[in-house]
């Protein structure tokens, strides 16, 4: 899951990036409204966290501009403004949610997950065959036995499982799992896919992740 944080306060940006990276998100940070808008146009984000008071153009303006071209991406306002009218104003500008500073990191995480819920929203479990992935606890189990995963491996598997039975192109994988500092020419994706395959199949014949030659990868029930 790739996340854009538009926040001019470096301290906040820093802990958000650290915390969210640990949760397996690919995180980009923009320090002002204009560069935030720029990044949101260049890359496909799964969720955007937006500060209200930004140098240059305000968070409200950024939100409205994003909404002009992208109505789908969830936007959460992070702000110190706390009156009811501010909240309404923010939501009317096109935000999906609103969280007040100072906020609890766990609450923010929960709100992000709410926004990322897929159609089968009731469960936090994604699965294929005997593999089970818990988004909340970050645990992957095979036949109820926990398999250790790195953050990146987990993020990659989560993305593939969320798009089960759909072809994920290399570009989309890069966009959603890696942040802006990732160089798309490297063969890092292949390395991670190989690592995933090894951990998931554990020497068995059946493969969960199939290569679609020249396009990308797909996860199917075996």
């Amino acid at each position: 899951m790739r996340i854009l944080i538009v926040e001019d306060e470096k301290g906040i940006g820093k802990f958000l990036r650290d915390g969210l990276k640990e949760e397996g998100f690919a995180v980009d940070i923009a320090l002002d409204g204009n560069s935030g808008l720029e990044l949101s146009r260049q890359n496909e984000y799964d969720i955007i966290l937006l500060d209200w008071m930004l140098p240059g153009i305000s968070g409200i303006e950024v939100c409205r501009n994003i909404r002009k071209v992208n109505t789908a991406v969830p936007i959460i306002f992070l702000t110190a403004k706390d009156t009811v009218s501010d909240t309404i104003f923010g939501l009317e500008a096109g935000a999906n949610d609103y969280i007040r500073k100072p906020f609890a990191f766990e609450e923010l995480l929960a709100r992000i997950r709410v926004q990322l819920r897929t159609e089968n929203a009731e469960t936090t479990l994604l699965s294929v065959g005997d593999i089970e992935l818990d988004i909340n606890t970050h645990i992957v189990r095979k036949n109820n036995i926990e398999i250790p995963f790195t953050q990146k491996e987990f993020a990659l598997l989560e993305f593939l499982l969320r798009n089960k039975n759909k072809v994920c192109t290399r570009t989309r994988i890069i966009e959603h799992v890696w942040d802006i500092h990732f160089d798309a020419d490297t063969s890092v994706i292949d390395v991670y896919i190989n690592a995933l395959r090894k951990k998931l199949t554990a020497g068995e014949e059946k493969g969960y992740i199939q290569t679609v030659r020249g396009v990308g990868y797909i996860v199917r029930e075996p």
Binding site: D8, E9, K10, G11, I12, K14, F15, L16, D18, G19, E22, L31, D32, M53, P55, G56, A80, K81, D82, K101, P102, F103, A104, F105, E106
Partner: protein, 460 residues
Amino acid sequence: MKYLSFRNRIAFNYIAVTALLIAVLFILIYLVIFQTVYDHLDTDLDAELQEVYSSIVVLDNTIVYANPNEWSEKEHGLIEVNPTFVAIVDSFGNVMRKTPNLRDVSLTFSDLKRGKKNFDTLLSGAPIRQMQTPIQNPTGKTLAYLIIAIPLQESIIVLKNLRQTLLVGYPIVLLVLFFLSRFIAGRSIAPIGAVIATAERITNENLEERITLPQNKDEIFTLTQTINNLLDRLRDVVMREKQFTADASHELRTPLAVMKGTLEVLVRKPREPEQYVEKIRDVVYEVDRMSQLVDHLLELARYESGSITPMVTNFELNTVITDCLRRLTPTADEKNISFHFTPENQYFVKADFTMTAIIIENILSNAVKYSPEGQSVSIAVEIRSGAVTCSIKDNGIGISDEQIAKIFDRFYRVDESRASNIQGKGIGLAIVKRLIDLQHCTLSVLSTPAAGTTFTISFP
């Protein structure tokens, strides 16, 4: 009068003056008519007298009636219609001759008055006006008196009617005028009612609403305009306070949010000792930043509450500047910024020593903050039009004209990007402004964007 409404007061004042004027007018009218009526009567009497007088001839000591017919004219015979009574009496009041209509009564003789005299009296109970004139022989001896009388009844009735009409009309006219003027006053102050209604509706919540200006550019127009202007100024103050509260809460919550978030993320998992040290250092940095901000806000609040009064002493300005420069040199050295200050003469000012030091240090520290590396800041003290002035000139980023008006607002920063490496919360100049006002100094700012800024403090 204090408890009367405005319209009633206008009506009352108006009616008081009008009552006086109308009373004078009515009295005048009555007097003029009274006079006219009596003049008319007297003219008639006079004419009759001449007529009768011409019909008698005085020979030595006897009166000869030359024209006896005159005595039997119609007007002398009747009582009812337009009668004229004539009598001639001797000096003792004995009737010598009288017209038939007098029958058995006689006209009043006034022996006290020797000359020609007009007066009112009664004839058998009816009011009459008499004229009495002596009949004299050529030597000047009074032989008898000729008395002529005409009835007054009609004139008295006319005057009485007039008096009654005026007396009854007076209060009626006044009453009508009172209600009329009350109505007109009410109508002419009706727009004030509208102004009151709108003004009452305007509260903190709808400070944008304004009273509609009337069409005529009259006093109400000016009043409305004045109230609207007052509302503009009020709104500005309220907006500034709201902005301040919003800014203050933002500035205070941000470091809190950073601390809370950093620590929360830190304790989510067990970490290496170095990571704990790093994050705790980050948090300590935030705590420092926040306590500095709180200090500044408290300082500002103290100055703004008016509880602090300047302790005015006479001190030498150059030493204050030198002290400030010494404190700021380490910061300036980091950016390789040099100060140019050559104290020549001594300049004594009457001001608060500490406040002056805070003002100069704040402006100097801003000059350092907003100057690019390697630039210089120059300070000059001189006497301009009798006042000691201190100018601080930098070659920094400068301030545009529209920004200059705002730089003394709390939390306003010329460089809005808090992400930039210029530290500060925009409180310094707000404090400077407050201290300048408290000491009755003046502060002027001259700036060219991208060329530099000069702050000039002028001491009283």
